[in-house]
Subunit: 328 residues, 2 copies
DNA sequence: CTGAAAGCGCTAACAA
DNA sequence: TTGTTAGCGCTTTCAG
């Protein structure tokens, strides 16, 4: 692979001139430009980003941290991030942490090392302490995650309100025994959704019973199946379930299609509106987050932050999508 | 962020010595090492990958090209790639092309530019001509894709044989009218699966009818719904369907749960064994590819190729997973 | 065992 | 308008 020296030689100019043509910064005579461009053609030259980045100390690469790409929730967000980044001549790097601190570290170091210009974290399992440390000297944005007290800018929805709406919908349908399939409540979103669930129940004078609140370790389908099975065993069975993730809700539907068949139907509401949610039987009522938009905004915020400007956090609206799983 | 100079100064040694400590290549006196390590601690130093990479002209980054992360088929493969890469001190960069040539180009350039050391392509829509051009001078591996005549090493299963097994299973169940929901047959895997479908039918003296072969543009659920609807309209309705992707098959099941209810049940076989496949109603019979292993092997092959060694292509075994969708 | 210095490919300040 | 040159942060040869 040719370098800028060879192009200069081939074109009979200096490397500075080649660089000028490359970045069309200052004026170059049309003839000179021609000569250089021909040389570039002939040697099939591609400027080395490594050299350029080292010199400019920027990489135009954005890191996107997520626990796992297996949750389809992230798909649309990533689309938004990617389109926005590319439109601004940035590229993104998808980084799966698998919730492992070592991996997280690798990616944090890439930012510290200038191998990437900034980071968008969508990982609820992230080490917030380390992230704050990183954020002191490097651009960081939280997407769909946030910290109330935090100094790191975020884009999210109001999880408490969304959960409240979901549960209120179930109450309006006449349900009085409503279970919650929640994830690990070390996560802020889990605590907020729990709060929304409780607020809705209390507002309508309904009982909040511990045995109706199930915590899962992860968000896979199987966890939802498991949770629903336990709820079905209860002496006092709930008549409706709010799951904090579509993947869990779909697992719950699966359990209802199996052992649940012998009981009265149970209404289910999920969260995220993943594409599979309209493929299940019954189709799934769920909360839709503006995922694409969240991604776009997160990318914009990060790029603004890279420019050295301050950015403000954003809270977006959600929407309740009513489908068959709450239609009896 | 401190650089190697400052560490050298702080420790009262030369930059060369700092570099030696960093890479513990040649011997350094314990005391000197101590001094340097203390300086590194004090200044919270991280060596710049940019500088290091430029000097070594390697990045220890592997690019993984895929059309879209929305197809869950890729999830496990990526896991395999990532685990293998990290175990060998490499990192991966997930690159969604969205089947757009411009994006493809961006990523190819990253390799040409030495911003990445090699590329694993899982994108059936990739421009093979350009990929070959890239492969002349840079390490490239195909995963789950391949070219018969190609000079690029690949890891895959035998798509023709797998399709043959899937269709044979349907025939053994007594089906004589078997439809195929295929993707765009500009893709090699689509042509191979078609060939397997035809071979099975012919072997049992069954008709291959054009109207039973449906081509979809993409692999989303909706395309499967659409395809099944069309097949249900047919005067001579098939009694079984083989879809070349679980996403399509799940869409087909959806259609069968809807308008298909009025007809006799239709058996369905998918392809890939994505995690959703056991969540549908009925659960989906499908071909399972050893995805995790494919990912591991692809990564190993690429790293071998980066070392400058030759690598041979690999064909792995598949497996038929029988579930409810072919159990009447 | 350690240090001085060259150089990876590029950009930009300065000079001509 | 164009060329010369320093330097981004690092590794590695070559001397000492």
């Amino acid at each position: 692979m040719a370098n800028i020296q060879q192009i200069a030689q081939q074109a009979g100019v200096s490397v500075a001139t080649v660089s000028r043509v490359l970045n069309n910064a200052t004026a170059v005579t049309p003839e000179t430009r021609q000569k250089v461009q021909r040389a570039i053609q002939e040697l099939n030259y591609q400027p080395s980003m490594l050299g350029r980045n080292l010199r400019n100390s920027e990489s135009r690469l954005l890191l996107v941290l997520l626990p796992s790409i297996s949750n389809p929730f992230y798909t649309e967000i990533i689309n938004g991030i990617q389109n926005t980044a590319i439109a601004n001549n940035y590229n993104i790097l998808l980084c799966e942490t698998d919730s492992k601190p070592e991996r997280e570290n690798i990616y944090f170091n890439m930012v510290k090392n200038k191998l990437a210009d900034g980071i968008i974290s969508m990982d609820p399992t992230v080490n917030m302490h380390k992230l704050h440390e990183l954020a002191e000297h490097h651009p960081v944005v939280l997407c769909s995650e946030y910290e109330t007290d935090g100094s790191i800018p975020y884009v999210t929805i109001d999880h408490e309100l969304a959960a409240y709406h979901a549960v209120k919908h179930l109450i309006k349908l006449g349900n009085e025994k409503i279970a919650l399939i929640n994830s690990d409540d070390t996560f802020l979103y889990a605590r907020h959704r729990l709060a929304g669930y409780e607020r809705a129940l209390q507002e309508f004078g309904l009982a909040v019973r511990d045995e109706w609140i199930y915590h899962t370790k992860e968000l896979d389908f199987e966890n939802g199946v498991q949770a629903m099975r336990v709820l079905l065993q209860l002496e006092e069975r709930p008549t409706a379930v709010f799951a904090v993730s579509d993947t869990l809700a779909i697992g719950a539907l699966k359990a209802l299609n199996g052992e649940g068949k012998m009981y009265e139907p149970i209404a289910v509401v999920g969260f995220d509106n993943i594409s599979f949610a309209s493929m299940t039987n019954p189709t799934l009522t769920t909360i839709s987050q503006p995922m694409y938009k969240m991604g776009c905004l997160a990318a914009e915020m990060l790029m603004t932050s890279i420019k050295g400007e301050k950015v403000a956090s954003i809270v977006l609206d959600h929407e309740l999508i009513i489908r068959e799983s709450t239609m009896g």
